[in-house]
Symmetry: C2
Subunit: 279 residues, 2 copies
């Protein structure tokens, strides 16, 4: 198969880690939320076997956040998803399909409830922020919708637990799957979730301070030597074997969430108010 270069430009945004992964041998990118997402370090198969056995650090800053704050934030988040979030707890992640007025699946983010009136939607590849802005304008909701400068580092693979314990301390071993909490490294706090785009176990670090994030990135490689740490990225083979869907690849807006296999995230019989039910 012929190969083609990617034409870099400001529009295909770099991440705080781009210069690092380019020194570490990234060979191919995809574009995701108008940002560079590494796709290979030269040997997908080798990376696959490594991910299943050791630990990798991934630049997944392209998983952009839509931040929704304000009095009506929970109302707006609920309007966009068919999952019942009325009992959502601060400190928990929720896989929440975003649907349009026809029930088409626009995105499948992880929703993080940060505060009573503050949410992040950690996005797959579409501009859900514009959808949120449109609904908010139309309904005159009291919300502020932004894309904060959050750049996720993922630490994935069976040895991710040992590595993160070594770097962030024992407390992180208590974090449950799809929980998140704050952990300190060299005086900086990081929001860390036990989640990720593989089924090999691991964490996603939601880096809000890029400089601190780059220090953490470097430390993960220093401390990770004994765990055979390598740079990596979501691995096509592992992702498909693990049945982790990719919006735009495995489904798109012409598929409803049932067709995506999202049955357990659809609360069609509850009394929650979301767009498809409202119309």
């Amino acid at each position: 198969m012929k190969k083609f270069y990617i034409a870099k430009s400001r529009r295909l945004r770099s991440t705080p880690y781009t210069s690092r992964i380019e020194n570490q041998g990234v060979t191919a990118y995809t574009v995701y939320n108008h940002m560079l997402l590494p796709a290979s370090f030269g040997n997908l198969e080798k990376e696959y076997f490594h991910l299943k056995k050791h630990v990798q650090v991934w630049d997944v800053a392209a998983e952009r956040q839509v931040q929704i704050m304000g009095k009506d934030s929970s109302k707006l988040v609920q309007l966009m998803t068919c999952r019942n979030l009325s009992k959502a707890k601060i400190g928990r992640c929720y896989y929440a399909p975003i649907i349009d007025e026809q029930g088409g699946t626009l995105n499948d983010p992880v929703a993080l409830k940060l505060e009573e009136d503050k949410w992040w939607l950690s996005l797959a590849d579409s501009d859900v922020g514009l959808y949120a802005k449109g609904i908010a304008s139309g309904l005159s909701l009291q919300v502020e919708i932004t894309e904060p400068d959050v750049n996720i580092l993922a630490v994935q693979g069976p040895k991710s637990f040992k590595l993160m314990e070594k770097v962030l301390g024992k407390k992180i071993t208590e974090l449950k799957f799809f929980g998140f909490d704050h952990y300190s490294f060299k005086g900086n706090k990081f929001l860390v979730a036990r989640s990720g785009w593989s089924k090999q176990g691991g964490y996603e670090v939601y880096v809000e301070n890029s400089e601190a994030g780059k220090n953490l990135y470097d430390e993960l490689f220093l401390a990770g030597k004994e765990f055979q740490v390598e740079p990596g990225c979501p691995n096509l083979i592992e992702r498909i074997e693990s049945a982790l869907l990719s919006a735009g690849n495995d489904f798109d807006s012409t598929d409803n969430p049932y067709e995506c296999g999202f049955d357990k995230y659809i609360d069609i019989d509850s009394d929650i108010n979301y767009l498809v039910k409202r119309l």
Copy 2:
């Protein structure tokens, strides 16, 4: 500068012309509206001089359309843009900045009024369709918002006029700048606008029937031999020399339309109703 490959996937959609341009020597892509947009055929400078002198055929299918139909379609289009479209005419194109509730510039499409209740927004790189859907849901507007399978072919350069006349007939020479009309080729009708992402003159063919479009593509190369036709793409050098902005490169949603230099497309003193004025 290091070069990197693009990792192709279904999510980075191909166009009906992809196999053709890959046979014709495309070397680099960018990604635009979740679709492949050719960025070079190997020598940007040579392509620049060729574009200024002869004629090129471009695969710009990535300029996707948001189709807005229905009773409230004109109302919705106006809500999204600061340009006064109240006197817009069928058969004309309008450069119409899309803004959010803060006045941030989300996109700078060309709006085509197709019928009294039918519009296309020919997009730069962001999901304006989601913004439109959000507003429409919030305000319960009677509209249908879709992304039709329209794949634009651009014919650009000083010899584009002679080439298009040869292929589509004398009538096309009467088309004025930013006007559009329908023209026949081998029994198929094509919507053709006198527009394009260069200042060297030319046309954009809004291809609705992909098979017919591929035949037209091939004919343009056959008939274009005498005009030194070449495959091409929006050229970075020519675009910047011509002061044609690129959303995401030269401005983004943190810039208001004044900061983008769009003064003549802002009707702040008229009585039109758009989001920034409404709030």
